[in-house]
């Protein structure tokens, strides 16, 4: 067993927001050994990021206090030392990488400058030439091709994955003993995530550093961690070796979290709720028929803004969706899946092609002609923060569309329908008289679902509706969707990037890449034995929770 590098004992972090003190971290103790990875998992608000920020002492003075606890790093208590010593430890011995690669690099300096600055700050005797060489090495280390030329690139010239590599290169340039990674792959696509995780594992083996890795994804935990700690409301409820915690969770909360992971949900899925269709039926009576749909955005250039090229967000897509099916649309960010969903609802005008709902052409209809069809097709959005009008009561949000479409003869009747729908969404009748900001993210998504359902639609596009939610909330919403489908014979186009969700929820799967459909078919077939190279790559990249139980 390696010697301990970081010993956190009974750490408390209280945040004072002026009117009340929040116990963000409450008596957390754990040990990270040299060369090991410690994963902190938990849902949003559980205090995992605050714990990491406490370790590197990045929390603002005056707001954050540590009434208790010890953070021993190489036998030195980080909570006791002064600013000057702290600065010499930060960066050179403890480095940190953040979640959002778009904002964590300074956009006005080149990548090389930023790495060299960090190097020279911690090694004042280093010359510019040495620092340059070391920075090129660091970029090589994180496997950025043509590292010497890349040194002169600005952050906006790099992709998200490359930026995260640069962040890692910056963190590693000074050869720290401890790397704190706060959800470093959450904002990235699965294929990029897989590469970054592989890189980090590789770097850990070669440099022998320790890692404090924060994530909410148990798949990532299974791949990365030696030790894992599960956090709930500021407390560390369970700590242990990764195989043990994932396979034989001791604490009820850990158990509950693991149960909510989509891979595990699929195992307990009620077979009555699944509804695979026969191939013939699928073609015989499609509810929705897409033929050669293109959504191209012009790229304008030059003085006269003439159209130089097109950004083909959706390129020649043909698809049939049969009634009562849940069709999952998967792909990486920017592959056009959201645009396709919006084009189906005519929120984005297709450049060409045909979209037929129940045999009627929708492309080219005016807003007025479109209106009767609007009630049949609804959409639920990704971001719970912006999907409800903050100035309107839930009651208005729910009843206004009903009024427009003539559902319910008077307001009382509409209110009754709205209340019933909310109750079906496991919300309360009184919630009609509240404003959106009084609800949590999961509740808002339920309200968004209720808004779609009050119109009694045939077809709903769900655009990443669970991706902003915690796993346990996601599990509840997915269950609800399956039940609703069975009750109302709904047809869903479920846009997601989460393969686990696809396997749990959908009957059919459509894989998109660069605006085109690369593979489609029954979910079991597509996920079980993918035919196309891209699908294979995508599925291989998904971090799996390989469970024995």
């Amino acid at each position: 067993m390696a010697a301990p590098l970081l010993v956190v004992s009974n750490l408390c972090t209280y945040l004072d927001n002026g009117s009340e003190v929040v116990k963000a971290v409450d008596g957390v103790s754990f040990t990270i050994n040299k060369g090991e990875t410690f994963c902190l998992v938990g849902e949003s608000g559980s205090g995992k990021s605050i714990t990491a920020l406490s370790v590197i002492r990045l929390l603002p003075y005056g707001i954050a206090t540590h009434p208790n606890g010890q953070i021993l790093f190489n036998n030195e208590d980080l909570l006791q030392i002064g600013d000057e010593e702290l600065r010499s430890i930060r960066g050179s011995q403890i480095a940190m990488i953040f979640q959002e690669p778009m904002t964590s690099l300074n956009p006005v300096f080149t990548v090389g400058d930023q790495i060299m600055e960090a190097l020279q700050l911690h090694n004042p005797e280093m010359t510019v030439e040495e620092a340059h060489e070391r920075a090129v090495q660091a970029l090589d280390q994180v496997q950025i091709p043509n590292s010497r030329e890349r040194m002169h690139d600005f952050p906006h010239q790099l992709s998200g994955g490359q930026r995260q590599r640069v962040m890692i290169a910056m963190a590693l340039a000074c050869e720290p003993d401890l790397l704190i990674a706060d959800e470093p792959t959450t904002a990235l696509d699965v294929t990029v995530q897989a590469e970054i995780l592989r890189l980090m594992r590789h770097l850990q083996v070669t440099t022998g550093m320790s890692m404090l890795f924060i994530t909410h994804d148990f798949g990532v935990v299974a791949q990365m961690a030696h030790q894992v700690g599960v956090m709930q409301q500021g407390k560390l409820v369970e700590v242990g070796v990764v195989e043990q915690v994932l396979n034989r969770p001791q604490h009820a909360y850990t158990h509950q979290l693991l149960e909510a992971v989509p891979e595990n949900l699929a195992r307990h899925k009620n077979p009555e709720l699944a509804k695979p269709l026969a191939e013939q039926q699928l073609i015989a009576e499609p509810l929705l028929q897409l033929r050669h749909v293109n959504v191209w955005f012009p790229i304008k250039k030059g003085v006269f803004r003439q159209v130089a090229d097109h950004n083909k967000a959706v390129d020649d897509v043909s698809l049939d969706i049969a009634k009562g099916q849940i069709v999952a649309l998967v792909g990486e960010s920017g592959c056009g899946k959201t645009t396709l969903g919006r084009a189906v609802l005519q929120l984005e005008k297709p450049t060409s092609g045909s979209i037929k709902l129940q045999g009627s052409e929708l492309v080219g209809l005016s807003a007025r002609e479109m209106r009767p069809w609007r009630a049949k097709m609804q959409m639920v959005f990704q971001d719970p923060q912006s999907s409800l009008n903050p100035r309107l009561l839930i009651e208005t949000t729910l009843t206004e569309p009903m009024q427009v479409h003539g559902i319910g003869s008077h307001q009382e009747e509409r209110l009754e329908i709205a209340a019933k729908t909310l109750e079906r969404m496991q919300l309360k009748r009184e919630h009609l008289w509240r404003y959106p900001h009084e609800f949590s993210g999961g509740q808002r998504q339920r309200i968004g679902l209720a808004r779609a359902l009050v119109l009694n639609p045939e077809f709903i596009v769900c655009d990443e509706i669970t991706s902003a939610l915690d796993v346990s909330v996601q599990a509840e919403i997915l269950k609800l969707l399956l039940e609703l489908r069975a009750e109302r014979d709904l047809t869903l186009l479920f846009i997601t990037h989460n393969i686990g969700v696809v396997e749990y929820l959908s009957d059919q799967t459509v894989v998109m890449y660069k605006g085109r459909i690369v593979e489609l078919g029954a979910t079991a077939a597509v996920c079980g034995s993918p035919q196309q190279e891209y699908t294979k790559k995508l599925l291989a990249a998904v971090p799996r929770l390989a469970l024995s139980s």
């Binding site: 919006r342 609802l345 929120l347 807003a367 479109m370 209106r371 009767p372 069809w373 609007r374 009630a375 097709m377 609804q378 959409m379 959005f381 990704q382 971001d383 912006s386 999907s387 409800l388 009008n389 903050p390 100035r391 309107l392 009561l393 009651e395 208005t396 949000t397 206004e400 569309p401 427009v404 479409h405 009184e430 009609l432 008289w433 509240r434 404003y435 900001h437 968004g448 808004r451 119109l455």
Partner: protein, 398 residues
């Protein structure tokens, strides 16, 4: 249960109630309210003729014979609004508006047909025995008309407040007299009409234009936005003041013309604000959800987008009212305002142009302009807070 009661009241009522919460806005409303009372009842508050008098057994109402069509229209508007508001009958907004317009139109038509106020009023006549030697009479609280230059007292000229009384004369001028000898308080009361109406009407015209044009620009973007922005730029290039001067030179000065010109030339600022807000809002999921629900365009624009984008507009509008008042004052200052009707700006101008500094000519109209602008700003801010449920919940208002 309280929540439900609260929430079932109409949106407009809830906004009104929330807006009225707070002491600053109560003061502002008190000030604007007293201005409205002054403006509506100006002929009965400050006039040279008796309200009622009884002479040789017959009772007459001299003040009524001198009422103009405008006086009647303002009175009719005030009482129509009061009746529609207080009456137990509840109509929809459209019906209310239609009733209001119908009543005003009827009053204006009837008054212009039947009212024949004398063109020239010699105010000194009211101090002759035919009006003073009566059985009894009731005079207005301020017994001087704004254009009553007190010639029967021998051209008093500038007099400080209460100085006439101090000199044991029978006259009482609470705010003194101006250079022609007219009572300042009386002129202040009559000037409140111009201040209120030009501020409200000009700003309403420009806000309606700005919201519609800016809203369409922001919502549709693309070619509509491009054409709209060119229109905005054209209107921003027009200097309001010189346009007003030109119109005054051609058509003579008229209050209504000034209102329309100020309104039609100053909508571009509001349009820019609304356009920027709408460009930001149209990509919001809840607006997309409203489109996907098939809601009509006016509901998307005015119910789902406008309340979320109106906050900067309200602040701008409160300054718009102020700048409209100031534009009128500027014209009056240049001698191109209304010739005989008093206005606060014109009175300020008098205090500047007279040889000696007369504090009462500067303090009272200047203070009135300041308080009015201040009150509009307070109301604008209170309304902005009321429209935002996050803020009002924090302030403890349901």
């Amino acid at each position: 249960m309280t929540k439900q009661i609260v929430s079932q009241e109409a949106l407009s009522h809830r906004l009104l109630r929330k807006t009225l919460h707070g002491s600053g806005v109560k003061f502002a409303l008190f000030w604007i309210g007293s201005l409205i009372i002054c403006a509506v009842f100006a002929p009965f508050l400050a006039n040279s003729m008796p309200l009622v008098m009884s002479k040789a057994g017959s009772i007459s109402f001299p003040v009524l014979t001198y009422l103009t069509t405008e006086d009647l229209a303002v009175l009719a508007a005030f009482f129509t609004i009061l009746l529609l508001w207080l009456a137990p009958l509840k109509f929809s907004f459209k019906v209310n508006l239609a009733l209001f317009v119908a009543v005003i139109a009827a009053v204006v038509v009837l008054a212009s047909l039947f009212l024949k106020p004398p063109k020239l009023v010699i105010y000194d006549d009211f101090r002759t025995p035919s009006y003073t030697e009566v059985d009894w009479r009731i005079m207005p609280p301020i017994p001087y008309a704004p254009q009553d230059y007190l010639r029967s007292y021998g051209g008093t000229g500038l007099e400080a407040p209460l100085s006439a009384e101090a000199a044991n004369q029978e006259r009482l001028h609470l705010m003194g007299t101006e250079e022609n000898g007219a009572d300042v308080l009386s002129r202040m009361i009559h000037a409140s009409r111009i201040a209120l109406s030009i501020g409200l009407v000009a700003t309403s015209i420009s806000m309606v234009l700005g919201i519609i044009i800016g809203g369409l620009m922001g919502y549709f973007s693309g070619i509509v936005d491009m054409l709209g922005m060119r229109l905005v730029e054209i209107f921003e290039a027009i200097p309001t003041l010189f346009l007003l001067l030109t119109f005054v030179a051609f058509f003579g000065s008229s209050l209504y013309m000034m209102m329309v010109i100020i309104g039609v030339t100053s909508w571009s600022g509001y349009a820019r604000y609304i356009r920027a807000e709408f460009l930001k809002l149209r990509r919001q999921d809840y607006v997309q959800a409203a489109v996907a629900s098939g809601l009509p365009l006016h509901s998307i624009l005015f119910r789902h987008m406008l309340p979320n984008g109106v906050a900067p507009l309200l602040v701008a509008a409160s300054f718009g009212v102020a700048s409209a008042i100031l534009a009128e004052a500027t014209l009056s200052f240049l001698g191109l305002g209304l010739v005989d009707d008093p206005s606060w700006g014109q009175m300020l101008n008098q205090s500047v142009t007279s040889a000696s500094f007369n504090w009462w000519m500067a303090v009272f109209p200047g203070g009135a302009i300041f308080l009015t602008v201040f009150a509009y700003t307070l109301i604008g801010e209170a309304f902005r807070d009321a429209i935002d449920p996050n803020l009002s919940r924090e302030a403890g208002v349901q």
